[in-house]
Amino acid sequence: MKTESIKKNLTTRSKKAKIERFGKLVSFICILIIIAVVVAIFYFVSSKGLATFFQNKVNVIDFIFGKDWQPSSVDQSGKPLVGALPMIAGSFIVTVLSAIVATPFAVGTAIFMVEVSPKRGANLLQPVIELLVGIPSVVYGFIGLSVIVPWIRGIFGGTGFGILAGAIILFIMILPTVTSMTVDALKSVPRHYREASLALGATRWQTTYKVVLRVATPGILTAVIFGMSRAFGEALAIQMVIGNSAVMPTGLLTPAATLTSVLTMGIGNTISGTLQNNVLWSLALVLLFMSLFFNLIMRMIAKKGAMN
C-alpha cells in the first residue's frame, strides 16, 4: 500500500508542475497572438496590394515609376494611369528634408544636455522633451494649418500648402523623439572614456567630438533613422498641410502628396475590389515595405555598432 502511494507520487506530475505548465502555456499563447497579428497584417495588406498587379495586370515598373496618378481614367493604350512616383517622391522628400534639419538640432541639444550642462538638461529640457514626444500628431497638423501655412503664404506667396509646410511640421514632430534617443545614446557611453580623454589633457569639446560622438555614432544614427521612419509613416499631420495633389513635386512651395496622405483621403471613397481601391492598397504595401526597410537599416547599424 505504501509503495503504491510512493510510486504514484513519483510517476505523476505534482500540482506545482501542472501550474507551471499551465503558466508557460498561457504566456506562450500571448506571444502567439502578437505573432499572429503581424502575420495577419502582412497577409491582408499584401493580398489586397498585390491584386493590382495580379488581377488588374498593372505593370510593377509602371506603378512605381509612373508619373500620372488618375486611377479612374486610362491612357491612349487603355492602361490605367496609376503611377505612384509623385507620392513616393513626396514622401521621401519631406522625410529627408525634415531629418536633415532636425539632426543638428537634436544632436546639439543632446550634447548640451548630457555633456555640457547635465543639471539644466535634467531639470529643464528632459521634461519638456518627454512631454512633446507624447503630443498627438493631429495637434501638430492643426498648428501647421493655422500657423505655418499662413506664414509660408505670407513670405513666399502661393497657397502655403506644400512640401515646405510638410517638412517643417515633420521637423518639429520628430525633433523631441530624435533628441531623447540621442540623449540615451550619449548617456550609454561609459564614463571612463571621458575620464581617460580628459586625463590626456583634452578639452571638453575635444573629448565630446573625438571620443563621445564617435562611440555614440551607431546610437545617434539609429535615432535619426527612427525619426525618419516616423516621418515616413506619419499620416494626418502631413495630410493637413501638404495640399494633397498627386502630381510630381516641382518645388518646395507647390502642393504635393505623400503615400500616407493619399491613403487617408482615398480609401473611404473607393469601392472594395475595384482597381481604384486595389491600387491604394498597393500604396499601403509600399509603406509597409518602407517600414521594414527602415527596420533592417536599424538592425544593421546595431550589429555594426556592437562589433567595436
Binding site: 500571448c30 502578437i34 537634436a106 555640457v116 493631429v138 500616407t260 480609401i267 473611404g268
Partner: protein, 294 residues
C-alpha cells in the same frame, strides 16, 4: 586658434542650439495653450458637436476617447503581460525567440495608418463589425501591444535575480514565483508604462479614422444597457474620438468655427497628455512606497 577657444566656442554654439530648440518647443506648447484654453468652458467640454453651425462642443468625443482607451487597455494589458512574462522568464536564447523579437519590433515600427487600414479591412469589412468602437479598440490594441510588452519585459528584468531564486528555493513553481513575487515587485514601473501608453492611445487618430468612424451619434446617458443603439456602453456604435474630431473639422471645413473648436480640443488633448505624464510619475512613486519596505 587654440583648443581652449574652440572649446568655449563649441559650448556657446551648443548652448545656442539648445536655446533655439527650447524656444521652438516652448512656443509651440504655449501657442496651443494660449489659443486653446480660453475656448475651454463647461459648455464646450460637455455639449455635443454640431457640424454646420458654430457653438458645438466636444462632450461625446471626450467620452469616446476615454471609453476607447479603457477598452484598448482591457484588451491589451493581459496579452502584453503574458507576452512580457514569456519573454522575460521563459524565452530561451534561440532562433524562435529571435523571430518573436523581430516580429514585435516590426509591429512597433509599422505606421499607424497601415495598422488602421488593416483594422478597416479585417474588423470593419471582414468581421462585419462596421465602423465601431470595438474595431477601433482592436486596431489600437495591435498598435499598442509591442510597446506594452517591451515595457512589461524590461520592468520584470529590472527585478533582481535573487528574488526569483528565493521563490524557487521555497519550492514554488516558476509561474507562481513570477505572478506572486516578481510581478508585484515590478508593478510600479509596469503601471507607469501603461499610463504613458494611455496618453498615446488618447491622442491617436490615423488608426481610428477608418475603424471607429468619423461620426459621433447622439447618446442617451441614462441608458446603460450595453446592447442598445444609443447606450454609451454599446461597443458596436460609431465613435469619433477627440483627435479624429480635430482632423475632421479641419479637413472638411463645414463647421464655421473650426479653428476655435480645434484649438480648444488641441488644448484639451495636450492637457490630457500632460495629465497622463504627471499621473504616471505620481502613481509610480506612490505604489512603489506602498509595496516595498523602503
Amino acid at each position: 586658434m587654440n583648443a581652449k577657444k574652440i572649446d568655449k566656442m563649441a559650448t556657446g554654439v551648443l548652448f545656442g542650439v539648445s536655446c533655439v530648440l527650447v524656444l521652438l518647443l516652448a512656443s509651440f506648447l504655449g501657442y496651443i495653450l494660449v489659443q486653446g484654453v480660453p475656448h475651454i468652458s463647461w459648455h464646450f467640454l460637455t455639449a455635443p458637436a454640431k457640424s454646420f453651425q458654430s457653438g458645438g462642443g466636444i462632450g461625446l468625443q471626450i467620452f469616446n476617447s476615454l471609453y476607447l482607451l479603457v477598452l484598448t487597455m482591457i484588451l491589451g494589458i493581459p496579452i502584453s503581460l503574458g507576452a512580457g512574462i514569456y519573454l522575460s522568464e521563459y524565452a530561451k536564447k534561440n532562433w524562435l525567440t529571435d523571430c518573436i523579437r523581430t516580429a514585435i519590433e516590426i509591429l512597433s515600427s509599422l505606421p499607424s495608418v497601415v495598422v488602421g487600414l488593416f483594422g478597416f479591412l479585417v474588423f470593419v469589412l471582414q468581421f462585419q463589425f462596421g465602423f465601431s468602437i470595438l474595431s477601433g479598440a482592436l486596431a489600437l490594441t495591435f498598435f499598442n501591444l509591442p510597446l506594452l510588452t517591451r515595457n512589461v519585459e524590461s520592468s520584470l528584468q529590472a527585478v533582481p535575480y535573487t528574488q526569483r531564486e528565493a521563490g524557487l528555493a521555497l519550492g514554488i513553481s516558476r509561474w507562481e514565483t513570477v505572478t506572486k513575487i516578481i510581478v508585484p515587485e515590478a508593478l510600479p514601473s509596469i503601471l507607469t508604462g501603461i499610463i504613458l501608453a494611455s496618453g498615446r492611445v488618447f491622442g491617436e487618430a490615423a488608426a481610428l479614422i477608418y475603424t471607429s468612424g468619423q461620426s459621433a451619434p447622439t447618446l442617451d446617458f441614462t441608458n446603460w444597457n450595453p446592447f442598445d443603439e444609443t447606450s454609451p456602453l454599446n461597443i458596436f456604435r460609431k465613435a469619433e474620438t477627440l483627435a479624429v474630431h480635430i482632423w475632421k473639422v479641419n479637413s472638411e471645413s463645414t463647421t464655421p468655427d473650426a479653428a476655435a473648436i480645434s484649438s480648444g480640443a488641441s488644448a484639451v488633448l495636450i492637457l490630457g497628455v500632460l495629465f497622463f505624464n504627471l499621473f504616471a510619475r505620481i502613481i509610480g512613486n506612490r505604489i512603489h512606497k506602498k509595496m516595498t519596505a523602503s
